[in-house]
Symmetry: none
Subunit: 240 residues, 2 copies
Amino acid sequence: MSLDFQLPPRERLLQAAVELLANSDGAAVSTRKITELAGVTAPTLYHHFGDKEGLFDAVVAVGFEQYFAREIGRANTEKPLDDVRRMWDQHVRFGIEQPHLYLVMFGNVRPGSRSNRVAEAEALLREKLDRAAEAGHLNVAPPDAVRSILAANIGVTLMLIAEPAAERNFELSDMTRDAVITAVSSDAGIADSATPVETSSVVVAAIALNAALESSNPQQLSSTEMKMFLEWLHRISKTS
Amino acid sequence: MSLDFQLPPRERLLQAAVELLANSDGAAVSTRKITELAGVTAPTLYHHFGDKEGLFDAVVAVGFEQYFAREIGRANTEKPLDDVRRMWDQHVRFGIEQPHLYLVMFGNVRPGSRSNRVAEAEALLREKLDRAAEAGHLNVAPPDAVRSILAANIGVTLMLIAEPAAERNFELSDMTRDAVITAVSSDAGIADSATPVETSSVVVAAIALNAALESSNPQQLSSTEMKMFLEWLHRISKTS
DNA sequence: CCCTTCATATAGCAATGCTATAGGTGATAC
DNA sequence: GTATCACCTATAGCATTGCTATATGAAGGG
């Protein structure tokens, strides 16, 4: 019921904490369970880490490095905003794959005191966005862009974690990601003059859809389906 | 050192919890402190609320109502997306003014289980976005829009709460708000340059029709026809 | 061999959420 | 009036939590 006794107690404590955090389904992980699994008594934990939070910080540092370290020394693309997109995706993936670690890092918000993990994540993003600003791709000051993107990134990840794994909709991530990145980007492909569709009733909407379908002939429906679909549309727009 | 003894114990407990949550600077609030301040012993708390979480839920329900209730019965603007903007701002304001209550509501993420407060907030937003979809102002399906907006909204609020009050940058909120709302909106036309305009207007019309059908429940189609019809609509409105 | 220093253990404290059990209090039935 | 019964509250205490005062062991330098 305990770990590799070849390792020094400090490492065993870290390993035990990781394992318990990964397996306890969101329930709190006690120092006693950790020390027990590590085959060690309480004072050793506090000797090495000072705190329970100190231990978790050490655990989190490992996980953080594990997912983001490669990003630190990485050669930069010529498109910094693509780097930002990749970091966003890595962030979300980390949250999904290690929800407990993620919640230790970003889930414990306390008023008026930023966690240093948030600061680290900010720094990583900041680097990319400074580069983007230099290249003239930014619409707003880098610090503002960083906060907006990171806030949305964390919000999306928390929401995905909270959702039952079965019904997780990952488009949420892509959509929100592109939304905030586009908003801070100056080379935004804002193809404007999309005429607002004035539809306030079923009938008007049906007519609009009918017209749109006939003109663009999309691939989502087979021809027979399309035929029936248009017939129903006709029926809807006739009556009422 | 205790509250109005005219009130029944249940109310005193609620009042004490509110007061302690508001004054303790992010530190945990214990049941003992609450019962002590309420001039009541432990079993009364558990008799009335079952749980510590039950008590907090009741407290939160009050705060929730306090800030969002007016929104529920409110007359709707002719511009639903403006309603969404107003709700976003109210959400952030609530988080800033009552950070402890807010954190009880939205700060305790646990893997795989959505809090019912999130569900309530979703429902409120959903209402507005359904209206927006009916009016043809939406670019994506309402449920997706709701999640994206709410996730960003919570993320921004959490980040603002975590920042030292002195250096809070509220432009973060406006910026991110407009980013996500614009992204789901068809009016502002962030059309991806890759997708042809005709297709996107089909999508908008399909979403609008879908929303209109679901809200008005017309008689022109049988229930089986309606089911298939909606399924096709869903397929069309998926921007592959 | 003694002394210092680091690392671990024994034992226990105060605070936490919660509960088994009993007492009290009011309304209703007779 | 009195008995009954449901509801509300109190006494006392349990198990678990994070953490620590103190002591013991081992390793190395003088």
